[in-house]
Amino acid sequence: MNQPNRTIAPETQKIKHLDFPACIKSLGKTGVSIYHLYAPVDEVLRVEFVFDAGIAKQTQKLIATGVNRLLTEGTQTKTAEQIADGLDFYGSYLQTRCAVDDAQLTLYCLKKHLNKCLEIVLDVIKNAQFPENEIDIYKKNNKQRLKVQQQKTSYLCRKAFYETLFGNTSPIASYSLPIDYENFSRETLVSFHRKYYAETIKYITLAGDVNDDVIEQLSQFSASFNPSQSDNNYRNETIIPESKVVKKEKSSQATLRVGRKIINRSHPDYRKLQLVNLVLGGYFGSRLMKNIREDKGLTYGIYSVLESYLDDGCFYVEADVNNDKTQVAIEEIYKEINTLCVELVPEKELITAKNYLLGSLLRSIDGPFTIVDRNRILLDYGFKSTYYDEFIEIINTTTSEELRDLCNKYLKPENLVEIVCGA
C-alpha cells in the first residue's frame, strides 16, 4: 500500500465562531430564576440548587462548609440514613459543594425519578436539623481528615500562599486548625442555615433531557423560596505579601508556588491575560512545561493558573520538585517570566497557543453540563451572553506586543512572592 506523505501536516481550519449556547431563563412564581439547557441525552438530568451561602458569608471558620455538608444528615422527619436510602433507591446522587462565593446542592438523576428526588431535596434544604450526634461524627472525622491533609506539602504550600496573599480573615484563605472545630456549635449552624438556605435561593440550573414538565416541577419547587439578594464584597484587610519557607520534615519533594494577587474576570484585561498565562504555563505546550519538565526533567508537572473570585483574584505557578532543586526551579520560572516581559512571543508560538485556547473553548461547550457551567460564569459576573463569542474575536486579534505589555503590567518578578514547602 502507498504511504501517504507523512512529512507534511494535513491542512487545518481555524476556529472563527463558537456559537455559544446560552441557557434559557424562566421565572418561578416567587421570582426565582431557573436556567435550563436541553440536550438529547436520554433521561439524564442534572439540577443545581445554588445559594448565596459561600465561605464569604460566614463569620466563623468552618460554618459555611459545615452547614453545606450537614444538610443531608437529618431533617424533622428523616434520619441521615433515610435520606441517603431514599435518594439511592431512585439511583440518584446528591452532591454538596461549598465555595468562596456560593454553595450548592447538585442532583444527578433520571427524569423518571425527578419528582421523588425533589421531595427529598426540598425537605433537606428547608428542614435540615443538624442533629448533635451527626455534628459529633462530622467533627471527629473531619479533624482526622485535616490531620492527613496537614501531612501534604501541596496542602501546606497552598495554605501559606493564600494566607500571605489575602490575610487569614479573607474567605479565600479560610483554612482551619483542629481547634476551630471546638467553636463549632449547633446553634451557629442552625442560624446560618436559616439565614442563607431555608428561605432564599440564588438560582436553579437544569441541564439534560429537559422538557416542559421538568421545568414545571422545578418551578413548583422554587415557589418555596425567594430570590436572594447579595453583595459579593469580602472583608479585606490590607496585607503585604511575603515570601516564606514552610518546613515539612522528611518529605521527599517540595511543593512551590510563585505568585501574586491579580485582576479577576471583571477586568477588561482578563481575557488577554489568559493568553499570557497560557503561553507561560497554562497548557502542555507552555514554556514552563517545556523547559522544566520536558527539557530538564525536574518535575512531573508545572503549570500556571489565573484564579478568579467575584471580589478578588490571584496568579501562581505551582510544581512539585526534588527538595534540592527548588532554587533551580524558581530561577527558571523567573527566567521564563522575564523573557516574556522583554521579548516578543514568536508568531508560530502565538498561533499555537491561540489555536489551542480556541480548541479548549470548543471542548468546554461539548455537553450540557459544561455548557451550563460556562453560563454560570456569565451569570455570576453579570456578563452578556456574547462574552464567549467575543472571546474568540479577542484571541484571534491579540498581538505579541500586547502580551509583552500585559506581562510587564501584571507579572513582573519583583511583584511575586515565593512559597516553598518541603524538607
Binding site: M1, N2, Q3, P4, R6, A9, P10, T12, Q13, I15, A39, D42, E43, V44, T72, A80, E81, A84, D85, L87, D88, F89, G91, S92, Y108, C109, L110, I137, K140, N141, Q144, R145, K147, V148, Q150, Q151, K152, T153, S252, Q253, Y283, F284, G285, E294, G297, L298, T299, Y300, D320, N322, T352, N355, Y356, G359, L362, R363, D366, G367, P368, F369
Partner: protein, 416 residues
C-alpha cells in the same frame, strides 16, 4: 444506546466508528493491548514509561503535542495493568491531524536517548509525587505483592521500584515497541462529528500502510487459589491508622462479575451503604470507609479500606468489617437493597455515556474485552443479577482464607 460500526483493516487494526452529529468535536482513541502485566518482573514500570516516550517524537513528526495544539486539539493517555490508552480530541474538521499524528507514532518512534533520559527523570518525579510524598501513597506498593504471588498484578503500573525505571535502556524501548505497538495489537475508535465513509478513507490512508508485526507476549502464570489469610504490618509516618483488606475475585468476563460489582455497592457505595452506616455512623470505628473492586481484566480484587478512629485497634477494625461481610454471607440482601444498587448502576451508566470521549473509551474497552456489544448490554447484565447471586458471590469470594490484610500503623511520636 451507542450505535457503532466495526471493521478491520488488512493489517489487523480494529476500527470502530461512532457518529455524534450534535458534537463539534471528534475523538481519536487508540487502545494498545499492552499493560504492566506484560512487563518482565525485573523491568517493571516499563509500559507506563513507554507511554511517556510516545510523546517524544516519531519517525516524521518531532513535536507531537505542538502539532496537535496548532490544530486546536488536546490529548492524554493512561496505562493500566492490562492496557495502554491514548486519546486525542480535536475540532471535528481538523480530525485528519489526529490520524496523521497517531499513525506516525504507530509506524515508528524516533528513539532518542535525550527523550528517554528526560522522561525517566519525569516518571521518577511522578513516582515520588504520587506514591511516596503522599500519606498512604505506598499502600498499593505493599498490598499487591501480598495478594499476588505469581501473577504480574503483583506490581503496580508505576513499577516496583525507581531502579527499574532508571535502568531502562534504548534497546529495551525498541524491543517493547516492536513487540506490542502494532496495528494488529490495537483498537482504534473514531467518534464524534464524522461520518463512516470519511472514517474509512482516513483509516485506510493513514493506518492502512503500517505493516502488521509479530506480537511477542510472554506467558505469565495465573494466580493460584489462596488457602490462608495473609496479614502484613506497615509502619509509616502518617497521622492515622489504616486497614486495607483485599479479596481475590473473578476475572472481568466471568459470569459472576456483575454480581460482585453490585455487592461492592451494597457494602461501600456511598452514604446508604452497609459499611458506612454500620461502622462509621453507628459504631463510630472509622472516619472513612469504602469498598470497591479493582476493575482488572484478569482476576482482580475486592478492596475494603478504612481509616480508624483514634483509639480503635486494627484487630477491632478487622473483626467489625468481617462481621458486616459475614452478615451478607449469612443473610443475603433484600429485594429493595438490590433494586437500589441496580438503579444506581443504571444512572451511572447513563451519565457515563455522555460525551464523545467517554463513548469512544467505552467502545474501546468493550472491544478489548472481546465483546463490543457489551457497550450496550451492560445495563441488562446488571438487571439480571438476583439477591441469591449476591449472597452466592459473597460466600464464594469474601472468605477469610481468600483475604489479604494490611495493617498500616501510624508511627507515633513516642515510638520514634
Amino acid at each position: 444506546m451507542i450505535n457503532y460500526t466495526q471493521f478491520k483493516l488488512k493489517n489487523g487494526l480494529t476500527v470502530i466508528h461512532h457518529p455524534d452529529p450534535n458534537s463539534k468535536l471528534c475523538v481519536l482513541n487508540i487502545l494498545y493491548n499492552v499493560g504492566s502485566k506484560d512487563e518482565h518482573p525485573e523491568k517493571t514500570g516499563f509500559a507506563h514509561l513507554f507511554e511517556h516516550l510516545m510523546f517524544g517524537g516519531s519517525l516524521n513528526v518531532s513535536d507531537f503535542d505542538n502539532q496537535l495544539q496548532i490544530a486546536g486539539g488536546d490529548n492524554n493517555a493512561f496505562t493500566s495493568n492490562d492496557i495502554t490508552n491514548y486519546y486525542i480530541t480535536l475540532p471535528a474538521n481538523n480530525i485528519e491531524t489526529g490520524f496523521w499524528l497517531e499513525s506516525d507514532r504507530m509506524l515508528s518512534l524516533d528513539f532518542s536517548q535525550k527523550v528517554l533520559d528526560v522522561q525517566k527523570a519525569v516518571v521518577i518525579e511522578e513516582f515520588k509525587e504520587r506514591y511516596i510524598n503522599q500519606p498512604y501513597g505506598d499502600v498499593w506498593l505493599k498490598l499487591l505483592p501480598l495478594a499476588y504471588k505469581t501473577h504480574p498484578y503483583r506490581w503496580p503500573t508505576i513499577g516496583k521500584d525507581f531502579s527499574h525505571i532508571e535502568n531502562a535502556t534504548l534497546d529495551d524501548v525498541k524491543a517493547f515497541f516492536y513487540s506490542f505497538y502494532a496495528p494488529n495489537n490495537a483498537i482504534l475508535v473514531i467518534s464524534g462529528n464524522i461520518d463512516l465513509e470519511t472514517t474509512k478513507v482516513l483509516s485506510d490512508k493513514w493506518f492502512g500502510p503500517i505493516p502488521a508485526r509479530v506480537i511477542n507476549r510472554q506467558q505469565y502464570q495465573i494466580e493460584p487459589e489462596q488457602t490462608e489469610k495473609r496479614i502484613e504490618h506497615v509502619y509509616n509516618d502518617v497521622p492515622l491508622d489504616l486497614i486495607i483488606m483485599g479479596y481475590h475475585i473473578c476475572e472481568r468476563m466471568h459470569p459472576d462479575y456483575y454480581a460482585v460489582d453490585l455487592m461492592t455497592d451494597i457494602l461501600g457505595g456511598g452514604k446508604s451503604a452497609r459499611l458506612f452506616n454500620e461502622l462509621l455512623k453507628k459504631q463510630k470505628l472509622f472516619s472513612e470507609i469504602d469498598c470497591y473492586q479493582s476493575g482488572d481484566f484478569d482476576a482482580g480484587l475486592v478492596i475494603v479500606e478504612g481509616k480508624l478512629i483514634k483509639g480503635v485497634t486494627h484487630q477491632q477494625a478487622e473483626e467489625a468489617i468481617e462481621k458486616v461481610l459475614n452478615e451478607l454471607v449469612k443473610s443475603g440482601i433484600t429485594e429493595i437493597e438490590l433494586e437500589k444498587v441496580k438503579n444506581k448502576s443504571e444512572t451511572n451508566i447513563r451519565f457515563n455515556d455522555m460525551g464523545v470521549l467517554n463513548k469512544a473509551m467505552k467502545l474501546a474497552y468493550a472491544a478489548y474485552y472481546g465483546d463490543i456489544e457489551l457497550a450496550n448490554t451492560e445495563v441488562s447484565e446488571y438487571l439480571k443479577v438476583s439477591t441469591n447471586d449476591i449472597q452466592r458471590v459473597a460466600k464464594t469470594y469474601l472468605k477469610p482464607t481468600n483475604c489479604n490484610v494490611l495493617y498500616y500503623h501510624a508511627k507515633h511520636e513516642s515510638t520514634k
